[in-house]
């Protein structure tokens, strides 16, 4: 356990230190932000560092094996309706809790709480629908490439007809809905799911779940823009 933590600490230090140093250099050359903001930055950076180390350790020893276990059991015991229900609920709850989603909804909702809540629902709902479709794709064995082509073609067509403000929110929503919470959970679920199905490759079938799922929020918000404005 100690060796894993030491490895992670070194790796994160190498990754995160440059960001902090870049800001410190900016601060003392051109930025000169108020000292209390700079102090908070230093304290907060310490929290971010310790947080990432704990989180990655927890993902490796807890979330990934757990997601794989559940993913591997679902196709063996679950009936198709059960799989659909479980994946849908899972997708909705985990996405609604993904921190980036809330941040974006607040920025885009411009302090209107109804708009913010509605946006979170559209994003989480869209994600849950497409995640379920992606899992069904694995079961049926429909090629990832074809489903991706269809889904992103729909995205392009809708993007042409939607107002630009909605387009910005839609694509941003797609980007933020795959974050530190949803990625390990859905990735592990998909890889576990594939591991027990014969004739499925981990690379081309286990991945793709997230890429398909994030089209859900994009399509959801674009449709909102096309039909309600």
């Amino acid at each position: 356990m100690l060796k894993i933590i030491r490895d992670i600490t070194l790796e994160v230090l190498k990754a995160f230190l440059p960001v902090v140093l870049a800001i410190v250099v900016l601060q003392f050359t051109v930025l000169y932000a108020p000292p209390e903001i700079f102090l908070r930055f230093l304290i907060g950076s310490g929290m971010v560092f310790v947080g990432i180390v704990c989180f990655l350790f927890g993902v490796r020893t807890g979330i990934l094996p757990l997601g794989r276990d559940i993913g591997a059991e679902l196709p063996q015991h679950g009936s198709v309706p059960l799989i659909i229900t479980a994946v849908f609920i899972f997708g909705f709850v985990v996405t609604a809790a993904e921190p980036g989603v809330m941040v974006l909804a607040e920025m885009a909702g411009e302090a209107n709480t109804d708009a913010t809540t509605a946006l979170v629902f559209v994003v989480a709902g869209g994600m849950a629908v497409l995640l379920t479709a992606a899992i069904l794709r694995i079961l049926i064995g429909f090629p990832t490439r074809h489903l991706l082509a269809v889904v992103y073609l729909i995205v392009i067509v809708l993007a042409v007809f939607t107002p630009p403000e909605f387009m910005a929110i839609a694509f941003d929503a797609g980007g933020v809905s795959a974050g530190p919470l949803t990625v390990p959970v859905f990735l592990a679920l998909g890889l576990g799911f594939v591991s027990v199905l014969t004739q499925r490759s981990a690379l081309s079938d286990g991945f793709g779940l997230i890429g398909l799922a994030v089209a859900g929020p994009i399509i959801g918000v674009l449709l909102w823009g096309v039909f309600f404005l």
Binding site: T144, L148, D172, V183
Partner: protein, 247 residues
């Protein structure tokens, strides 16, 4: 700064992320009791991992709120107020690269790819390709805010190109490339790069933060999709040692 100020807002995040963790535990508990029947020690290690992940995520997010977000806004406003707003473009490039390499879920993805491909695709290949591509697209996104380029001009051809590449790229790379698109933009990117563009759009005359500030995340999402599919073309021409496993 009052002594408790660094912990303001911590409780709210703790509640927000408690639900999915609780759900994970409930799901696992059901599977464990009915099907899995893992050993006690295995379950304890798993629960310890979940506890670490929860505390880690909490500290990470809270740290971002108090550290990176206000700093990002400061930087955006500073450079947006300069006469030479173009400096935002190289700044976007450098910070885009650094922040992507620091995003924790980008690391999770790179390692999973190396494992799933049995070492055929090395983690650093993914990591640095993503870093470089995001840097380029973050610079493009900054240019868009600075010069007021309409978003559809970038997004529609961008996704068009991604779709065309879909039919030429190695099929093992395609799924991963689309996954990486949104994975590359995590909370650190949102907090930092997005606050910077919104700060800049607020400061630059004639820019509306709601129109010109948003959309950068979407532009960055294109970076991995396009770049990883291009990398797969390179792999096809000259496969690295260890044999091909195209199938």
């Amino acid at each position: 700064m009052t002594p408790q100020a660094p912990f303001e807002g911590l409780g709210g995040i703790a509640l927000d992320i408690a639900l999915p963790f609780a759900l994970l535990i409930v799901f696992f508990a059901v599977f464990q009791l009915v099907f899995l029947k893992r050993s006690r020690q295995y379950v304890l290690i798993l629960l310890r991992g979940l506890a670490f992940a929860y505390v880690g995520l909490l500290l990470f997010l809270h740290g971002i709120n108090i550290a990176l977000m206000p700093m990002g806004t400061e930087i955006g406003e500073l450079f947006g107020n300069l006469d030479h707003t173009w400096v935002l473009i190289p700044i976007g490039f450098v910070l885009g690269f650094l922040v992507t390499l620091a995003e924790p879920q980008v690391r999770v993805l790179s390692e999973e790819v190396e494992e799933a491909s049995a070492g055929y695709i090395r983690a650093p290949v993914i990591l640095y390709t993503l870093g470089a591509a995001v840097a380029a697209f973050a610079a493009l996104g900054m240019a868009r805010t600075v010069y007021g380029i309409p978003l559809p001009t970038i997004m529609i051809p961008g996704y068009g190109l991604a779709l065309i590449l879909l039919f030429f790229a190695d099929r093992n790379f395609v799924a991963m490339a689309f996954d990486s698109g949104s994975i590359a933009t995590g909370p650190m990117t949102v907090a930092f790069i997005m606050s910077m563009t919104i700060g800049a759009a607020t400061a630059i005359e004639g820019r509306n933060p709601a129109v010109d500030g948003l959309g950068l995340i979407g532009i960055i999402t294109l970076a991995p999709i396009i770049s990883l599919q291009l990398v797969s073309l390179a792999y096809r021409i000259r496969p690295p040692q260890g044999g091909s496993q195209d199938g």
